[in-house]
């Protein structure tokens, strides 16, 4: 059963491409691969622990104020992650700027807490949170991979497309500026959804 909780969000029930949650940050932080990786990791950590904490508190939280309690827990974790990033990965944290703080508004986190953690025990909730974070991360990294490769010709900052290919050096190639712009992230996510739906026919609405 734990295996199922872990495997499903990775592809079959992916939070981004099936539930279409967390699109906003997929547009914002995927220009380069490195920030996308850090973002995916941060979200995974926050989601795992917030799920586990809320799940262990679930019987004591009064139903009417549960959103406030959830926000407090998530906010605490986000601040922790933000401080850790500032301490150990300052450059990336500067690139991510406000978007680390905005993890708190990531719809997947609230969605998983509401849909899963409030009704399940801490351990499955932890697994569910981590798995959903990873599912989100897979999409994020895939989008960032294409955007950095075609938009900047590099991956993780390393130039992959040889400099001699470029037109200014007498070659024929030019970076695709559209991949740097946010609309391309949306189009890429759309293409991923398209691919997934052609594999998983049961997702197609009647």
């Amino acid at each position: 059963m734990y295996k199922k909780i872990f495997i499903e969000p990775l592809f079959k029930n992916n939070p981004v491409s099936v539930l279409v949650l967390g699109i906003c940050s997929a547009l914002a932080v995927t220009v380069k691969l490195e920030p996308a990786l850090v973002m995916a990791l941060s979200v995974t950590i926050v989601m795992g622990f917030s799920n586990a904490i809320i799940s262990s508190l679930r019987n004591t939280i009064p139903n009417r104020i549960r959103i406030i309690v959830q926000l407090v827990v998530v906010a605490m974790l986000v601040i922790l992650v933000d401080q850790v990033l500032k301490a150990f990965a300052y450059e990336v944290s500067k690139q991510l700027s406000v978007f680390v703080g905005l993890i708190i508004t990531n719809c997947i986190i609230m969605g998983r807490i509401e849909a899963f953690a409030l009704a399940n025990k801490p351990l499955p909730s932890l697994i569910d949170g981590i798995a959903n974070g990873l599912g989100y991360g897979i999409i994020l990294v895939a989008v960032a991979f294409f955007r950095e490769l075609f938009g900047s010709g590099s991956l993780m900052g390393y130039q992959l497309i040889p400099a001699s290919w470029y037109l200014k050096n007498g070659g024929f190639y030019e970076n695709n500026g559209l991949f740097i712009l946010p609309p391309m992230a949306l189009i890429l996510v759309g293409v991923f959804i398209w691919v997934q739906r052609s594999i998983q026919k049961e997702l197609i609405e009647k």
């Binding site: 024929f172 030019e174 695709n176 500026g177 559209l178 991949f179 712009l181 189009i187 398209w194």
Partner: protein, 384 residues
């Protein structure tokens, strides 16, 4: 013709259901209907008895595009020869342009039709004729110096993301040709704007005579420089995208489209009217010597305004469908185009963006018009 019919009838079973090559049915069907009028008739439902079908409509638009294409070829050669100070004799000039433009047309058709055939094949439906016009429009709105692989990529993007994901011809939200241009414009801005890209060979700078500027009238107007005379811009001996420079050639095509009733005169007229009125308004408010003071009628012949109004805005798929909506749709295109040109320094040409914007809003305009009609009739029908 009989011989061809015979051959086709002979091989038909191979491609029909159960035949050996039945998976190529769509491609076969496309070629058959390209050569012969199909003899299948609608069995039930409403019939329109008219000789016009999608194929004939598309062919007519292609014919209407011919003046712009031929003029564009000549102008390509003319501008090039002007830039290197060569002879300006008619035929060598025309053939220079012809051989510059031909590869662009071929690439556009090869890539676009290739994807169309593949998509039809995968989905098992007929190959639509929609791309015939798009494939001719795309070369006409691209700068002549655009590298061919960038063109191919733009075409692929426009056909796949702009058309096929929505369900193919007739289902697209945006005009595919303009989407190809928008893709190239945002992906490779240095090849789609500036002073160097509009004239063949100018970006490499070989043998260009001193002091020659390849700037378009729009760029000049933006920079506050002199623009060519109205008659030059009307006839089209100015730098610009291949087919968009000559308002005269475009108007010949427009006359054909209007005569055959294929394009909506309401849209065409209201685009020009919207642009002109906005221009006049800006003229009236303009401070001395600013871009706003450029005479309003110049806006109608500069850049892609006329081409967009005649061939892009009137696209029956992406435009407004309701008769009253067409007025709003067209007028807003004209208004937006001039506003973007004058007030947005980032985009010298507003026509592409304004048509794409109004394409997005066309269903909303139709909705408002239809709801307005329903409301009016309901009020009339109240029984006291």
């Amino acid at each position: 013709m009989k011989a061809i019919r015979k051959i086709i009838d002979n091989v038909k079973p191979t491609f029909s259901k159960g035949g050996k090559l039945s998976f190529l049915h769509s491609s076969f069907d496309a070629f058959e209907t390209f050569l012969f009028v199909p003899d299948t008739v609608t069995r039930k439902g409403a019939h329109i008895r008219d000789s016009i079908d999608l194929k004939r409509t598309m062919t007519m638009v292609i014919i209407a595009l011919m003046p712009a294409l031929l003029f564009g070829m000549w102008n390509t050669g003319y501008q090039h020869n002007l830039s290197v100070g060569a002879d300006l004799e008619f035929w060598p000039t025309f053939f220079y342009g012809f051989f510059k433009v031909l590869p662009i047309v071929i690439v556009s058709y090869a890539v676009g039709l290739g994807i169309e055939f593949a998509a039809a094949q995968i989905r098992g439906h007929e190959v639509n004729e929609g791309y015939l016009v798009t494939g001719m429009l795309i070369p006409l709105i691209m700068p002549v110096d655009l590298p061919l692989w960038m063109l191919a990529l733009s075409v692929a993007f426009a056909v796949i993301i702009g058309k096929e994901v929505f369900g193919g011809t007739g289902m697209n939200i945006w005009n595919p040709a303009l989407l190809a241009r928008a893709f190239a414009f945002f992906a490779y801005p240095s090849f789609m704007s500036g002073d160097k890209v509009w004239i063949a060979g100018l970006s490499k700078g070989e043998g260009v005579i001193d002091g020659f500027s390849g700037a378009t009238p729009l760029a000049n107007a933006q920079a506050g420089l002199d623009i060519p005379s109205f008659s030059d811009m009307f006839i089209g001996i100015i730098p610009g995208s291949i087919g968009e420079t000559s308002t005269l050639a475009i108007l010949i095509g427009a006359a054909l489209l209007l005569f055959t009733g294929i394009a909506s005169w309401k849209i065409m007229f209201s685009v020009f009217a919207g642009g002109l009125l906005t221009g006049l308004l800006l003229n009236a408010l303009a401070p001395e010597g600013s871009y706003m003071a450029v005479p309003a009628w110049n806006h109608l012949v500069m850049g892609g305004f006329a081409f967009g109004a005649v061939f892009m805005a009137t696209d029956p798929v992406t435009g407004s469908q309701t008769e009253r909506g067409k007025w709003y749709y067209g007028a807003l295109i004209g208004v937006m185009a001039v506003i973007i040109r004058v007030f947005n320094p980032g985009y010298p040409e507003g026509m592409m963006l304004s048509i794409l914007l109004l394409n997005t809003f066309a269903p909303l305009i139709d909705y408002i018009v239809v709801q307005g009609g329903i409301k009016r009739r309901l009020e009339r029908a109240v029984i006291k």
